[in-house]
Amino acid sequence: MLDPRFSSERPHVSRRGFLRLTGAGVAGGALVTMLDARKAPAQLKGTSLRILMWSHFVPAYDTWLDDFAKRWGEKTGVKVRMDHIPHLELPARYAAEFAAGAGHDLIYFVGQILTGQYYRNLVDLSDLAEGLAKKYGAWMPASKSAGQVGGAWYGVPDFFISIPVLWRKDLLESVGVNNPDTWDDLRKAARLLKPKGHPTGMQFSHCNDANHNWRSLLYCFGGKETDPSGQNLTLDSKETREALRFAKALYDEGMTPEVFSWDDASDNRYLASGVACWVHDAISAFRTTQDTNPKVFEQTYVLPEAKGPVARLNMGEPNVWAIWKFSKNVPAAKEFIQTIADHQKEAMEASRGYNMPFLKNQYTKPMPGLGGDAKLSALQEQDKITVFFGYPGPMTPAAQEVLTTFIVPDMFTRVARGADIEETMKWGMGETRRIYTKHKAG
């Protein structure tokens, strides 16, 4: 049968086929009605719009999005072209487009929020963003720094990605850890299950997930990257050292050395292969396991985030729309952002629970994709514990560079490999300070 993972880049699916594919029959119908209801501005007819997106981790979402864009194009008379490239390659592409002064109209930042870097060349979208806040409730406070520079909005947040804990009920209960809630529970479970051939794993490498996982741990232990203003480094603290210590213990007791070679996909595979007792991974792993290993999936449950000694905080990955100033079709781009925001519910459904909204009212229950699922319903409260990189400061370009150079994962890696904590702190602070100094000067 049609494997939902194998999404089509060229949607040659009939409307009925599409609806069947996403299993969103009712939502699809509502989509069509809603699109009909909203009148598109007349001056968009005949223009063309080029959108650059990432390749969503849940392929079904891209299928939905491409189809959505096509229908929107038909409705408004705009010729839409949507291109997808892997999120890791987006920064290079943006650098090239900027250097060339030409490229796509509407672009998308995933994880690496480049608003602060490019804002001089992005269209001011304050009216759009404020409008959305009025319509759908306030923006999540933490999300503003993803789109704002100096009080004006140069990017409009779309959704964020949560990276919760996915755990195996059967395995954990077999060693007496029922309903794990804290990091200590997870550590205990890993310690008891590793000898039985079911260790855990978190990436100690240069990948996106490593940035997220270790920051979540860090924040849960009370570590802070900067002060709330984002200008002063506060990473050097007792709490950070506690987090590092914990990570080392967790590695020694509950993981195997293979985690040093892992990339973003490895923990998905670990879970799906039945080996992992728990992983700290996005819902895409949940869906992969659902599709490839139903037996394991049955036993897989979701914990929004483990609690540390200080807090329960989960680092989310924000996704942000932006429009190049050199775009020749700014009105159409703005219209598209507005329309997508208006259909956030369908988007959430299509993403099979992956996309988490930024706007307050989108959290009214039941949330599409999550509300109906017993295992995932706890994620409906995710906005309460979600923060972003740079916490508690905003997502400044300096914090962004710390992110892309993997300093935090490297610190954890060194400690796990046996380096002295003080040495590691010194190294990490040195690197981070250099970056912040440079950005202050510039």
Partner: protein, 327 residues
């Protein structure tokens, strides 16, 4: 006619004395055969030189500018900061790790390719049945595009499903999955560096073999026979006769290969992206991550150009020496 076959003509600018139609006449330099030859030559050269000058030369100057400015990807015109970027690079421990890794990578892989290539070339110049087939098969690693073959290796080195580990552990050469003796090719620092070097060697040794084969077949058999007659053993023949004769091509091949390797980031980028805590970070990947991904163009440019002052004189020295050895 001998004007063309013999050495260079009179220098430009000086009026030339040419025998034309039996009478000696003074004509301007521009009409001499030498000048015509120069004109012809430079016209032939022009397309290539223009192409490269425009598309490589100008961007090179641009990258020099970037290296001494604080440009970032969003800010095209930036302030001049002198050698600030280079200083920052030198103070960054990641930079020195990358330099070390780059040197180890290039030298180690180069030596391996030389050794394997020589051994293979030696075997392939022997006449034997099926030689054509073998040659065709052995060239395959070189013919596959880097990106695709590297991804194949990534799967073969996978920490869980590596077929290499599976085979080795069944042969009891390494431990079982989960034990400390299960090598995590891309996760343990020394192994990771070895793995990326290995892929580079895997891709490159057929090419080395072919180049060396070419060199070996160009050695006149008489010289080798003379060696045999003189009673030299195989090893002595190899060392004293063959190696010196293939040395020039070995050097040139190595030079090109070094240069290609130094600027290639695909293997490391696709396999480990700098590896466990910088263990496989090489200068191109560090420059890419700093300059493009993190947006600090100035510093990225400085990092990527940092080997240039070292390599340029080395290359010139190497090539001049080689040229002199020819004659």
């Amino acid at each position: 006619m001998s004007q063309i076959a013999a050495g260079g003509g009179p220098s430009p600018g000086a009026p030339a004395t040419v025998a034309v139609g039996g009478r000696v006449r003074d004509i301007s330099w521009w009409r001499t055969p030498t000048a015509r030859r120069y004109l012809f030559g430079y016209t032939l050269l022009a397309p290539a030189v223009l192409y490269v000058a425009l598309l490589v030369g100008i961007p090179f100057v641009f990258s020099l500018y970037l290296a001494v400015s604080d440009a970032s990807v969003g800010v095209p015109v930036a302030r001049f900061v002198g050698l600030e970027n280079f200083k920052a690079a030198l103070e960054n421990s990641a930079f020195w790790t990358a330099v070390r890794n780059t040197v180890v990578f290039t030298l180690g892989a180069g030596i391996m390719k030389g050794l394997l290539g020589t051994a293979l070339a030696f075997l392939l110049i022997q006449p034997f049945k099926g030689r054509r087939v073998v040659r065709a098969l052995v060239v395959i690693p070189f013919t596959l595009p880097i990106a695709v073959s590297v991804l194949g290796w990534k799967w073969m080195f996978d920490s869980q499903f590596s077929v290499i580990n599976w085979a080795l552990s069944r042969l009891n050469l390494i431990g079982a999955y989960g034990s400390p003796e299960w090598p995590v090719w891309l996760g343990q620092p020394a192994l990771a560096l070895f793995s990326v070097m290995f892929v580079n060697v895997w891709r490159g040794f057929p090419f080395s073999a072919i180049v060396l084969m070419a060199g070996m077949t160009s050695i006149p058999p008489e010289i080798i026979d003379a060696g045999k007659v003189d009673g030299a053993t195989f090893l002595q023949r190899f060392r004293k006769i063959i190696v010196p004769m293939i040395a020039p091509i070995l050097f040139i091949g190595s030079a090109f290969d070094t240069v290609f390797t130094l600027s290639d980031l695909s293997i490391v980028y696709l396999l480990t992206n700098g590896g466990p805590d910088g263990a496989t970070e090489i200068l191109p990947t560090l420059a890419y991550n700093t300059g493009i991904k993190a947006g600090a163009l100035g510093r990225g440019a400085a990092i990527s150009l940092s080997l240039f002052p070292l390599l340029l004189p080395l290359m010139i020295l190497l090539l001049r020496t080689l040229r002199r050895r020819q004659y």
